[in-house]
């Protein structure tokens, strides 16, 4: 190995003032966040990551349609329209779990600790993660909208409601990612967490209004199925897609997601500040 470390070119010396400036203020946070985002987007270029973003949501959507179309038809429900919000929510679960997987890897490798020692805005790491999660969610949603449209799904309530649909889905995705992310950052063993993340995911999705109306569940489960966050989100997405009475469903979803997001962000930030 060449012994000498190359002399530092002019203008490259550590300047304390410049380093401090990069850690303060909203502009520094956005700039740092974009640098972290650039890197996070590069990680999506592997086949497994692409499959999780594009292929899995498609497979589940087509599979559920195949299985449930006749049954739903019999009770007068159009499968593609009914299942679309469900698979969008499921895809947001995939996004959040992959986000947590990346966070776990970065924590285990020491990368998050290292970022915390750099003259970089402390919010940059989280903003970069958030940006990547939103990008990933948008790709999954776009894929599902196209596929569902072919099978007969329509945004019946017009373009504004369609945009609202996407925004609620993103809010759900970001909320989940903050929850899973905080879990991974705070847990003693982040890798173990990534292996048990489906424990909340499966029952929340199965015991929701995603696949059957509340009445389809045993009576003692009704309160849970009706009021749990995944159901409230799916109900709001359905209202935004189908038209009709939207306000109450939308407000309920926004309220529960806002509360959860606030709690998760506080917990995740606290855990982040302890990562070394």
């Amino acid at each position: 190995m060449t012994v000498a470390v190359p002399g530092v070119p002019p203008g490259v010396e550590t300047r304390v003032e410049a380093g401090v400036a990069r850690q303060r203020g909203a502009r520094a946070a956005v700039h740092g966040g974009r640098l972290v985002l650039d890197r996070n987007l590069k990680l999506f270029r592997n086949p497994a990551s692409m499959a999780g973003m594009i292929l899995f949501p498609l497979i589940f959507f087509l599979g559920f349609n195949l299985i449930m179309t006749r049954t739903l038809d019999r009770i007068g429900i159009e499968a593609a329209q009914f299942l679309m919000p469900t698979v969008v929510v499921q895809a947001m679960f995939f996004t959040a779990m992959s986000s947590a997987f990346y966070t776990a890897a970065d924590r285990t490798s020491g990368l998050i600790g290292r970022l915390r020692t750099l003259p970089l805005h402390p919010a940059a790491t989280i903003l970069g993660r958030l940006g990547a999660d939103v990008a990933r969610s948008l790709v999954s949603i776009a894929v599902l909208v196209v596929a569902a449209s072919i099978l007969g799904f329509r945004f019946e309530a017009g373009p504004v409601a369609a945009v609202g649909f996407v925004l609620v889905a993103l809010l759900f995705s970001v909320t989940l990612a903050a929850g899973f992310g905080g879990w991974v950052l705070g847990a003693a063993d982040p890798t173990a967490v990534t292996q048990v993340m489906s424990v909340p995911y499966l029952p929340l999705l199965m015991l929701s209004t995603g696949f059957a109306p509340v009445e389809g569940f045993p009576g003692w489960l009704h309160p849970f199925v009706r009021w749990q966050p995944v159901s409230l989100t799916i109900d709001a997405l359905r209202a935004l897609a189908d038209g009709g009475a939207t306000t109450v469903a939308l407000l309920r979803a926004l309220a529960v997601l806002a509360v959860l997001l606030t709690v998760f962000v506080v917990l995740a930030s606290r855990a982040f500040r302890r990562v070394s």
């Binding site: 190995m1 060449t2 012994v3 000498a4 470390v5 190359p6 002399g7 530092v8 070119p9 203008g11 490259v12 010396e13 550590t14 300047r15 304390v16 003032e17 410049a18 380093g19 401090v20 990069r22 850690q23 303060r24 740092g32 640098l35 972290v36 650039d38 890197r39 590069k42 990680l43 592997n46 890897a105 490798s109 020491g110 990368l111 600790g113 290292r114 970022l115 915390r116 020692t117 750099l118 003259p119 970089l120 847990a187 003693a188 302890r274 990562v275 070394s276």
Partner: protein, 339 residues
């Protein structure tokens, strides 16, 4: 801007004053005090769980101290953490590079994160790849790098801008001898460049090779300080070691060693080893060899041994280096998890 450096801290690039860091009941740092003059290499020597990494984490603003004061380049880690981060480079115990990015992408990214413009970051990455002999692997993902290559990439990432102070946490643990020597060369050239280096290590040899001054750490505090030579002298310098072929020779060899060296001989029966400490190893070894021949004892092996870290430890603390270390590590892990 930030607090002006205190008079005492201007000459010292790193200061720790009675720093205490608790993880639950466990005191990972328990009155840690050290002062590193600017432009020197300072070795923090100690076993696992002694508080080396916790010290580095406090200095790099990853952990806030519970008591005491610490500063880097004259900036207090609690009141001016942003200035500390702008002055310090850290290469941690586990090569924290991005596995999914190539070597070049890693260095460009860290350059950008350290405030370099795109073109400057790219140019700097090229230079560092060449200096650390990574040009051939520049476009391979770090995932496929060998341990030595990862360390080099990791160190290069800490040098995209010149830090005032560089902390290296066990930089050669797990490296092959060649990579270790190459890394030592880098540390020496950094010192010539005027960078202050804090080096933690478990190897006396490494501290010996590199450090201008050494602090021996145990249970969260400095228990001895000095140069490598003064530390070794403090515990009695070198020892003559004789390995005998048969157990029957042990007693005669021990008597003979004591006669020649004038020191008490230690016999380890199961290993067939007799040792005695000496001040002048070269003269003593000739005398011992002659005496053994005269007594008709053919040794399996005969040599001068420098004290190991274990022996330094035993001499300084009265307990072996690794006793309780594992338990401490566990306590730290658990405490961090629940806090």
């Amino acid at each position: 801007m930030t607090d002006p450096a205190t008079d005492a801290a201007i000459d010292a690039a790193i200061e720790m004053q009675d720093v205490v860091k608790r993880f639950g009941e466990h005191r990972a740092l328990d009155g840690m005090t050290l002062s590193v003059p600017a432009g020197t290499v300072f070795g923090l020597l100690g076993p696992n769980g002694a508080g080396k990494t916790t010290s580095v984490n406090v200095l790099s603003t990853l952990l806030a101290p519970d008591e005491g004061r610490a500063s880097v380049a004259g900036f207090d880690v609690v009141t001016a953490p942003e200035s500390v981060r702008a002055s310090l480079g850290l290469t941690g115990q586990f090569a924290a590079v991005d596995d999914y990015l190539t070597g070049r992408e890693n260095l460009v990214w860290f350059g950008r994160l350290n405030g370099l413009a795109r073109s400057a970051a790219a140019a700097r990455a090229e230079e560092l790849l060449a200096a650390f002999e990574l040009t051939d692997a520049a476009d391979k993902r770090a995932q496929g790098y060998s341990g030595g290559m990862r360390r080099r990439l990791d160190l290069a990432a800490s040098l995209v801008v010149r830090p005032t102070v560089l902390a290296l946490d066990e930089p050669t643990t797990g490296l092959d001898p060649r990579s270790r020597r190459a890394l030592w060369d880098v540390v020496r050239s950094l010192r010539e460049d005027g960078v202050t280096v804090l080096l933690t290590t478990q190897y006396l040899e490494e501290a010996d090779e590199l450090a201008d001054a050494i602090a021996v750490v145990d249970r969260g505090r400095v228990i001895a300080e000095g140069t490598a030579r003064s530390l070794k002298d403090q515990i009695g310098g070198a020892a003559i070691e004789v390995v005998v072929a048969v157990e029957a020779h042990l007693v005669a060899t021990a008597e003979l060693l004591e006669r020649v060296t004038g020191a008490t001989a230690t016999v380890r029966e199961e290993a067939l080893v007799v040792t005695a400490s000496v001040t002048d190893g070269v003269t003593a070894i000739a005398e011992v060899a002659q005496a053994l021949r005269g007594a008709g004892i053919e040794p399996e092996d005969l040599g001068v041994r420098r004290p190991s870290l274990d022996e330094v430890f035993l001499a300084l603390t009265g307990h072996a280096a690794d006793v309780g270390a594992d338990a401490d590590d566990r306590a730290e892990g658990v405490a961090e998890a629940v806090s």
